[in-house]
Structures are given as structure tokens and as C-alpha cells.
Subunit: 475 residues, 2 copies
């Protein structure tokens, strides 16, 4: 096919981002010329200039896959996505992926100054510099694509307010669950739904570690070491195992679902570092699998719960079957009912797929301005439910003296707090030794549960650190 | 919140569909007025006039859920989606859902004549009238939303050519897998991917019947009767159980994935009507579950396979776990890797959710014209692989004499055809009686397999109708 690639002048539109100049070689919009071009066997191709900030794993993945599938993207988008500059931290560094030296700059500000760049892809990592880059890009009318979950979770409100003011879209599919298009699903496909609940396994590293602990009986340290060796955990795995990587994603997802920016600092986030192999075993005996789960719930009162916690998931619940580094997100909408999305939540290529999807949306937005800019605040919800008021069943393991009367004292304290026990297991131990006592607790508010636990821990027959985990009620 | 609902003049754009007139009360576009409106506490709302053709299960679901979640849709889309007319077959008919009589017409042509209708939602069923309605709507610049899978599978090429010529978008999320947003995922989120394979359970009725046959040992007729009683199968279940409902969906999905309209008549479609309980049992003994599966594959040669067949799915494959009326679609893209979408594939509310998502996209498209109109043809693929050339493993059950030498003769014929046997099971029977012989066959081209089977059937030691099923290789 004869292919005439030419930068075309954009149609005149209202949004500020449309005003950045391009070397125009035509007078008509794509829409006006498309049919004509095809008639004479020509394909008139609009170039979209991209500035890439960051050339780590994901940045390189975007660059390489853009090269690899350029022909396909041209066909499907009618545009030629062209990387015009790549900003890196160290210009001279040796890289796995070859990067034409003419594209490289050590200054991310260069992306802002280049009038040929219409879309800035932020994959730098960190907070301060990406925030400055994104706000300046919006200021200059450049569309933003980012995969920076920590940045959005902390500064989403500010970023999207500026985006709306300046009428510049910000796309962020890669920020949540890698290759799974959950942002698009929640924002567009399920637009007619009130989201009643979302449950997500949205940190692949944690899920890999828990899968190994569960299937091979490894302890946390051994499973983490294995994950690091396999390249599934970074040298510093803190954000993955302390729950905050998932926490940031949950904040973004909940904010999008409910139309207000959930304050990160008020979200309950617990990691997997202190999970003991015995709790995984006891959970299995009871028919559950321990998972690091994001909980997003809207109550009838309009208050929203957002948390990330290790939780016992009934084995019949499909989330219990999500193994290794895979992610899955179960969504319940009041119209669509239950839906589940499953896929690779991290990694070079899956995340690049989402960035490239956003770039295609950016290309469309450059040709026809959007009425929305990535996040639409509204006031139908707006309150975060305090973690202490969230009601759920619990799993409680205590180290106790193996003596008569112990269970009665513990059950008494729970009873006083109005907390019911649904079942008890006491694994066999040698006579006289300390024993593990596992209680499955009926629905209870977390605050009450913690208060009762404090009294239980003060009993002289209770030893060791107790293990308290939320239980996912639905199977 | 004070809410000023006013029809606004649309911004001037190139596409024909933008020219239909609205009672304009303002001079500025939403984008221009939005911020201003918010500043003074006003919400300036663009009305989108909808004409609904068909008020059956899904049509009523769209109407009811639009009423129910009107406030939410207003917030999220910035538009007020207003049904202006509903075309029904029988005007006087009593309906479960109340329909204001002022909206009803017995003539679908009335939707075309009404200048206040900008979007036509086609949920009539059938082929001829919907096709006429859709082509005329496109002609008049009205955006189309349809859930009509048979129509698109048969006339997609024509419809989308007209849509592109007239620059009028046609949305069809509801046509494939009900509430699962697989069209949007394939078209937008995974735009950067070559699709290597797609596997789908995309007919809930069949899956319900097979689940009941598998879990309760029912035969086909009993399971179908149960499905009809539960409301999961229609009085005339032909299209569901003969595979063509899934076939239409597979054609649409493959066409979208590969950029050319797959000719329905060349697609291999088999149903579940002749599945015997014993094959479900034998499959289970071998570690497989029998599912009605859509197979969509692109080979290295660019040829595409599309088929719908009952197939043995390894139990470790997540599709084997999809029970009851649920649908699931597993997609493998060359960038994103494996992803899976799961949810309700039919029913009033899930399908309405998809129609309403399309209506929100239509509302956006009315405010900013699209560069694409729902389907983008290209020439990177374009050939359908004949079913006879598709290579896969097979499951073969034969009724044979329970005598020495039988297996040798059958194996001999397969060997002559170059077809390998990977395992044999022969369930125990009384001496001298006819026996079932089950062969698991290595990868073989379907054509060769059928030719060999014809020779095998001619053997005097082989009786009864054989059962031949494809085996899904990946677990």
C-alpha cells in the first residue's frame, strides 16, 4: 500500500491542548480527507508526536512495542505514533533496548519545550519530578499518559483539576493492574453502574509470594527470596509487600468509581510481611486461601470503604484461584451484576500494552476533543467510611495455654463485646504445651473487634502475637 | 444542586451525523461552557435524544436502568440521555415495564423522522427490519447502538462501510457477551496487540445446559427442559443450542480483532444437541470438561481460524471452571499476554449495562466527532483458514465389538493417515457386549481426521454414531 505520511493541521477545537502547533502540510482534518485518501489508494496519516519520560522497564517496553506493532497501530488508529524525544536520568547509560541517540535527553523539561511533542508519557517513577512534569505538560496543552500510581493516589485531585481547567486529558490505564483494562471498564463500559463492590488482587509480587507460601509451605522470607530470584520482586520490595502498591491502585480505582479523590492517608493498608505459614495452613483447613485483597465497597449510606488487607478468601470464590503474578479484579455493578477481569498486572509488555492503548486514545482525543479529561468528580458519594466501622467476618489465631477454661474466657470477652463466634478449631498439640486456637468470628465492626482483641491479649492464658485477618464473606 | 437542563447547539464538526438539528438554546459547546457553568453553581446539561426500537427484555432493561441511574449518568457523562420515542411491534400490548404512552409508536420509521432523536438504539431482533432501520439511521446521521449479533455477523461489512462513508458511529457492545465489555477491550484497550488467540464461552444457555449435564448427569433433553424452566433458555432454543448464537458473536469478535468481515457461511459451527452424557463422563475421567467454545486463532501466515465447537477443555484451564449462565473470554495478545474477561453474557440488566455504556460513548461522539466509526477495516489479515486445515488434538469415542484386534485395526487406519494416538481408554463392559473405545488423538488437521474417521466407520467391528470432539490444547 502506498502510504503518504504527513503531519496534518488539526481541526479547530475548543480545548487548550489542541492549540499546540504542528508542522501542517494539509488543510483538512482526517475526517474530511480520510475517504478521499482511500479513493486514490493513499493513506493520509496524522503523526502524533510523543515525548517519553523514563526509559526503565516499562518505558523501554512502550518504545519497543511501538516499533514492533507500528503498522498495526497505523491501521487501527489512522495515526502514526512517533517518539520524538526520550528523557532519561543518565544519558550515557548502557541499556538493554537500543535507543537512537538523537532522541535522548537528560532533561525532562526538554519534552515540554519541544513543540512537536503533543503527548507526554510519564514513566519516570517517583513523585516530585513526575508531578512537575505532568502539571507543566497540562499547562502547555500536552496530553498526559502516566502509569504512576503513587503520584495519582497522592496528587490525583490536583492533577485532574488542572486537567479539567485546561481541558487536557490525562490517561492512566497502566497505573492500575498492568495490562488489565480496568480503568477503561470502570470509566466507560460500566458508566451506567453504581459500583456496589470491587475486590482486587492487584499486586502480583504479593500474590506470587502468597501462592508459593500456600503451595510449597515456604515462609515469607524464603518466598520473597524466590520471587526476587525469579524477577517478580525488586531488590527493595517494600511497596509491594507492605501493601502500598496495591493501596495506591485501590485509591485510584475507588476514586474513579465514586467520583471523589479518596484520601490515601485514611485508607487502611496492611501488607503480607507478617503472615505466618501456619495461618495459611489453618485457612486451608477451613476452606480458605489467604490473599492480599483490595476491598472497595459502597454502603447504602453513600459512604465508601477502601482498604488493602490480607484476607481469607473462600476457595469457591474465583479470586482464590488466582495464582502467581496474575492479577484479578471482581466488580459488582448494580446494572451489570458480577464481572471479573484477569491478566498480568505488571511486567514490561502488559504494562506497555496499556500505555499504548492510552496513546491511541490520546491520538483520538487530539483529533476530536474530549468532553472529559480522565476523571469526572461528582457528589453522589464523597465520604470514606472509617476502617473501624467496617463490618466483616474475621479469622483470629491466638497462642494460648492448653488448659481447660481458656476458650470460655476468650468467648466471654467476645460475647461481652457483642461479637459472635461461628467456629473454633484447635489443632492438636502435645499436652501442656502452648496451643494455637483459631476462631472464626461472625460479622463484627473492625473497631469493636480490635478493642475486644486488646482485652483478650491481656489475659494471662494468651501468649504471643495474635493473628487477625479479615474474611471475605462471598464465595 | 441547581440543574439547568438545556439542549445546546452542537459544535460544528465534519461528520454528517452532527448536522441533525437540535433545539439550540446556547451558542457555545459544552467544553466551552462547562467550567463557566460550574463557577456559578449551574450544571449545563446537554440532552441526548434517544429513539428505542424494540421493547423486549433488553429494550425494557435499557429504559428502566436509564431511569434508575439517570442522576449518575448525568454526572458521569455531562449529558441527559432522554428517550424520545419507543417503537414497538404491538402498541396496545401489556408490558411488565411501564412505558409512558406518549413515547410509544408502532412504526420504527417514526424514529427516523423525529429530528429530536440523535441516537437510534436497535433492539428489535430479526434481520430485515433492523437492517433497514440501521442503514436509514446512518443515512440520516443518527448514531446507532445495536445488540443484534445475527445482523452484524451477516451484514457487518455493509453496515460499517456505510457508517464510515457517512461518518456515523455504530456501537455494538451488547452484541457480544452481554455485560462483558469485550468489544471495547479488543477495539480500544488492546489496540496495540496482534491477537494470537481468543477462546470464549459466549453462550450462557449452552453453558448452563452443559454445566447441568456435567454436574448432575442429566442428558441434553432434561438439562434443556431445566434451563427453559429456569428462564435460561427460550421456548425455541435453536440458535443457542445449535451453536449459531455463539457463532455470530465469534464472527463479530474475530472480524473486529483482524480487521476484515469474516464470512459467516465459511465458519464451522457445531452445537451441543448431540452431546451424550457418556462423553461428558469420559472427558471428566480424562481430566477435561466439555464446553461449547469459540476458537479464534491467527496463524503465522496471517490466516485466521474462526469456529464454534463443543470441545474438551483441560480442567486446569480457567475456562473449564466457568459454570452456569456465565460467559468468559480469554484473549492472548502479543503485547498484553493473557487476559480473561468473565461475567454475565445475557439477561436484561447486564445487556442493558452494555447498551448504556454505548449510549454514553454515543453522547461523547455527539460532542466530539470520532475518527473511527466502530470498525476499522485493514489488510494485515484477511483470509479465513478452511476448517479442514485447522490442526488440533481430538477426542474420539467409538462403539466397537469387544473383541481382540479391534484397536489394532482402528490404530492402523489412523496410522495410515499419519494420525497419532496419545492415549486409549476402554471402559469396562460385560464380555461379548459392544464396548466404548475412547481415543485421544494427537494434533491432526480436521480434514484428515474426518477422512480417517470415515474409513474407521466402515469397519465391520465399529457400530453406532462416533463422537468426535476437538480438544483445547492449552491448560
Amino acid at each position: 500500500m502506498l502510504c503518504l505520511v504527513a503531519g496534518l493541521q488539526r481541526p479547530k477545537v475548543a480545548g487548550k491542548y489542541s492549540r499546540c502547533t504542528l508542522e501542517g502540510r494539509g488543510e483538512q482534518s482526517i475526517a474530511e480527507r480520510g475517504a478521499e485518501g482511500q479513493d486514490v489508494g493513499l493513506k493520509i496519516m496524522r503523526e502524533i508526536g510523543i515525548g517519553l519520560a523514563g526509559f526503565g522497564t516499562v518505558g523501554a517496553g512502550v518504545f519497543l512495542n511501538l516499533e514492533k506493532n507500528r503498522a498495526l497501530l497505523r491501521e487501527r488508529t489512522g495515526c502514526d505514533l512517533v517518539v520524538r524525544k526520550v528523557a532519561v536520568r543518565e544519558v550515557g547509560k548502557k541499556r538493554a533496548a537500543a535507543l537512537p541517540s538523537g532522541l535522548v535527553t537528560g532533561q525532562w523539561r526538554d519534552l515540554l519545550e519541544d513543540p512537536r511533542i503533543e503527548v507526554v508519557v510519564e514513566l519516570m517513577g517517583g513523585i516530585e519530578q513526575p508531578l512537575a512534569l505532568i502539571l507543566l505538560a497540562i499547562e502547555r496543552g500536552k496530553i498526559v499518559v502516566t502509569g504512576n500510581k503513587a503520584l495519582l493516589a497522592e496528587h490525583g485531585a490536583e492533577i485532574f483539576q488542572r486537567a479539567a481547567e485546561q481541558k487536557v486529558p490525562v490517561f492512566y490505564e497502566a497505573a492500575v493492574a498492568g495490562g488489565i483494562p480496568i480503568i477503561k471498564a470502570v470509566r466507560e463500559a460500566f458508566v451506567a453502574n453504581h459500583f456496589q463492590r470491587i475486590r482486587g488482587i492487584i499486586n502480583g509480587t504479593s500474590n506470587y509470594i502468597l501462592t508459593r507460601m500456600s503451595e510449597s509451605g515456604l515462609d515469607f522470607a524464603a518466598a520473597l527470596a524466590e520471587a526476587q530470584e525469579a524477577g517478580y520482586a525488586e531488590a527493595d520490595p517494600a511497596l509491594d509487600v507492605n501493601g502500598w502498591d496495591a493501596g495506591h491502585k485501590a485509591v485510584i480505582l475507588a476514586s474513579l468509581a465514586y467520583g471523589f479523590w479518596v484520601p490515601s492517608q485514611d485508607v487502611l493498608v496492611e501488607g503480607i510481611e507478617r503472615i505466618a505459614p501456619e495461618d495459611i495452613r489453618f485457612a486451608a483447613q477451613l476452606g480458605y486461601t489467604l490473599k492480599l485483597l483490595a476491598f472497595i465497597d459502597a454502603g447504602a449510606d453513600g459512604a465508601v470503604e477502601v482498604s488493602v488487607q490480607p484476607a481469607l478468601v473462600p476457595n469457591a470464590n474465583i479470586l482464590a484461584s488466582v495464582r502467581g503474578v496474575f492479577n484479578a479484579i471482581a466488580v459488582r455493578g448494580d446494572v451489570v451484576g458480577d464481572a471479573l477481569f484477569y491478566g498480568r498486572g505488571a511486567g514490561q509488555d502488559p504494562t506497555a500494552s496499556s500505555v499504548l492503548g492510552d496513546l491511541a486514545d490520546a491520538a483520538l482525543a487530539l483529533q476530536s476533543p474530549r468532553a472529559s479529561y480522565g476523571f469526572i468528580p461528582h457528589t453522589l458519594y464523597g465520604k470514606l467510611r472509617p476502617a473501624s466501622e467496617v463490618v466483616s467476618p474475621f479469622y483470629l489465631r491466638l497462642g494460648v495455654d492448653d488448659k481447660p477454661g481458656v476458650l470460655a474466657r476468650i468467648a466471654g470477652l467476645l460475647g461481652e463485646a457483642g461479637i459472635g463466634i461461628s467456629s473454633v478449631i484447635q489443632p492438636e498439640t502435645e499436652a501442656g504445651a502452648k496451643a494455637a486456637l483459631v476462631l472464626m468470628i461472625h460479622d463484627a465492626p473492625r473497631g469493636k473487634m480490635l478493642a475486644a482483641l486488646q482485652k483478650i491479649r491481656a489475659l494471662d492464658c494468651v501468649h504471643d502475637e495474635p493473628a487477625l485477618y479479615r474474611v471475605e464473606a462471598e464465595s
